[in-house]
């Protein structure tokens, strides 16, 4: 599975080069942001608020927004500049940009990782079976794979979301839960559940599984003529256990490399869908960028901050992907970077 040679390759290229270290460092930071968002955040990321021109909370504490606005009429100023109270300012509905940056990391990472796991679960078994048996099974699968690869993933995703809706799934926030009886420093009023865009995650898997099927098929195709597979077959080992115990473990490295690259691809896909308004959660970096677009000239931070979040996360994942690819398997190349 993972041989000694591969391990030494990995550690050698890690110590020799700066880029893998940078990638791991960036990603650790983002993962920590995501996990400890409720502790690191200064405000409830979903709480809207309005501010007057001098940056004072509006309406003053004690009065409701509705009663105040009916007295004063229209409010002109909403997004406020970075200040001590709001480190990175607020967005157009008065939500804290810094806190939303932290929570946005959760959505990106969860969709990226869950999407890839689902794609693996669909693509790898199909690919292994197609490659191992060959013939008509293989023809049917690869013909379908060609159609899927050919079709613009974003367009397909949009069509599927148009039909199935966005269906966000609310997952209880483990940190807030632990805090409820251990007091680990979560401020009052943090959301107790986080929304994960359900349809987007499934759609991401549906539009990326073919890459895994292709890789797994190729591996199975070359492994099925190996001596040890033939030997196992001659002992009467059932095909299922040959695939599970001999073919799969020996195909693992290219699949891991591809999985890493696809995390980056899916994070970008989620961001694009959220930007277009089809994500199902507003706690997403892509959605936040869309909101910042209207005030780009006057309040650039609203769009700039979440964009940096996406970019750093994807750079981190890509650097690790490049490191794994160079150390493990030169056969997975940039051509598998589609979405």
């Amino acid at each position: 599975m993972i041989s000694e040679r591969i391990k030494s390759n990995l550690s050698e290229s890690f110590t020799e080069s700066l880029l893998p270290k940078l990638g791991v460092a960036i990603l650790i930071c983002i993962v920590l942001f995501a996990i400890f968002a409720p502790i690191l955040a200064t405000h409830d990321p979903t709480r809207t608020g309005y501010y007057d021109d001098s940056g004072q909370p509006y309406p003053p504490t004690g009065t409701s927004y509705e009663t105040q606005i009916s007295q004063d009429g229209e409010i002109t100023e909403v997004a406020i500049e970075p200040s001590d109270e709001h480190l990175l300012g607020t967005n157009t509905v008065g939500q804290d940009v810094y806190s939303r940056f932290l929570y946005g990391a959760r959505v990106s990472l969860v969709v990226g990782i869950l999407g890839v796991l689902m794609a693996l679960a669909i693509g790898v078994p199909l690919g292994l079976v197609a490659g191992y048996y060959g013939g008509r099974v293989d023809d049917v699968l690869m013909r379908n794979a060609d159609v899927m690869l050919a079709f613009p993933a974003l367009v397909l995703a949009l069509a599927l979301i148009g039909v199935f809706g966005e269906s966000p799934v609310f997952v209880p926030d483990p940190i807030v839960y632990v805090d409820s009886f251990l007091d680990i420093g979560v401020a009052d009023g943090m959301p107790t559940a986080i929304p994960i865009p359900g349809t987007v995650t499934i759609v991401a898997a549906l539009v990326t599984w073919v890459w895994f099927a292709r890789i797994a098929r190729g591996e199975a195709l070359s492994l099925r003529s190996e001596e040890y597979v033939k030997a196992a077959k001659s002992f009467g080992t059932p095909d299922r256990s040959i695939l599970w115990r001999h073919v799969l473990p020996n195909s693992v490295t290219p699949i891991i490399v591809l999985a890493t690259i696809q995390v980056a691809v899916i994070i970008l896909l989620e961001a694009s869908l959220a930007y277009l308004g089809f994500s199902g959660t507003t706690l997403s970096w892509g959605y936040e960028i869309e909101r910042g677009q209207d005030v780009l000239r006057t309040r650039p931070w609203v769009a700039v901050v979440p964009g940096i979040g996406i970019m750093l996360t994807v750079i981190g994942v890509n650097l690790i992907g490049d490191w794994l690819r160079d150390a493990l398997d030169p056969n997975v190349d940039n051509s598998t970077r589609g979405a």
């Binding site: 060609d146 159609v147 613009p152 367009v155 039909v163 780009l296 994807v314 650097l319």
Partner: protein
């Protein structure tokens, strides 16, 4: 297998793919929530009116009849009528093709012109500052979401530096060229270039980065082959070897990948058009989705699929001409 036979086979496969796309789209529409007649008429419409429209549109027919009608319509180029604007969908698609085509071609040109020299320099001067910069650039390029890049370009080069216009473009390439032909004035053409520059860079950056990476790794592989040493030993000029022989051999896998990534280019166009308010097919697709205007949405997606299949068959035809072994495989 002869080339003609190979191409016939690809053509049949292409038709099969299109049939698949059309059927999947029809299926999605059939299971999608919302009554089309209500969508067309608005919530307040009377029951009789809705019933009348359902009858007229064939919505009361069994699903297989609706499917047959739809496919029959497609075969003669009838994409139906938009639910919202009640205009002919085929017309609504056709009028948006030039803008998207201009954008996609401009992005491809940007990508090729920057990426190939950059990849060559990077590969031939490995581990120099030039190589590191190119590597960093391509890492940023594949990691930046293109809609955000577009907004940053608007902000920095458009708003702050004032170098490029940021509004909706006033003139397309076709009318601009016509003006040039009629009056000899290039002012409209310069306006067109000014407006397409930022969208083209936005859409092209990802591909620039991707092709730079591919060119670099391909060139490095190729430079290590014995024939390179042999030609150099013969005393052929280094530049000639690099550009005539090595680069040419590197291009084959690059073109293959570009074919595979065509879908990404189209998806990117949808996003880029939204950012820049670009009057293309992608923007119209998003509008159609927002309005749940199924005939328009289906029409655009079917068109994209047809374009895709056609381009791929064309690429295969070129391939089988350049490298007959492909057809024989």
């Amino acid at each position: 297998m002869s080339i003609a036979k190979f191409l016939t086979k690809r053509l049949l496969q292409g038709i099969f793919v299109l049939w698949g796309v059309v059927t999947i789209l029809f299926g999605l529409r059939a299971v999608s929530p919302g009554d089309p007649a209500t969508l067309m008429l608005g919530e307040g419409a009377s029951r009789e009116l809705i019933q009348q429209v359902r009858e007229a549109e064939g919505l009361n027919d069994p699903v297989y009849i609706q499917y047959a009608d739809y496919v029959q319509g497609l075969l003669v180029g009838d994409l139906g009528y938009s639910w919202r604007s009640e205009r002919d969908v085929a017309l609504m698609v056709i009028e948006r093709i030039p803008a998207t085509l201009e954008l996609a071609l401009a992005a491809t040109v940007v990508a090729m012109v920057i990426a190939i020299p950059l990849g060559v320099i990077s590969a031939t001067r490995r581990d120099t500052p030039a190589d590191y910069s190119a590597t960093l650039f391509s890492l940023l390029g594949i990691s930046t979401p293109n809609f955000w890049l577009g907004l940053m370009l608007i902000l920095v080069l458009g708003v702050w530096a004032g170098l490029f216009p940021t509004g909706r473009r006033p003139v397309g390439l076709g009318p601009a060229v016509l003006t040039l032909a009629e009056t000899g004035s290039i002012s409209e053409l310069t306006t067109w270039i000014h407006y397409i520059a930022l969208p083209a860079v936005t859409l092209g950056t990802y591909f620039t980065a991707l092709i730079t990476r591919l060119t670099r790794s391909g060139m490095i592989d190729e430079l290590g082959k014995p024939y390179v040493t042999a030609t150099e030993a013969k005393g052929l000029p280094e530049l000639l070897v690099r550009y005539k022989h090595v680069l040419r051999n590197t291009m084959i896998p690059i073109v293959t990948v570009l074919g595979l990534q065509l879908g990404t280019l189209m998806g990117g166009a949808v996003i880029t058009e939204t950012v820049f308010n670009w009057p293309g097919l992608g923007q119209r697709l998003i509008d159609a989705l927002d309005a749940r205007d199924w005939p328009l949405m289906q029409g655009i997606i079917v068109f994209i699929a047809v374009a895709f299949v056609a381009i791929n068959i064309a690429v295969d035809a070129v391939y089988s001409y350049v490298d007959p072994e492909v057809a024989l495989e």
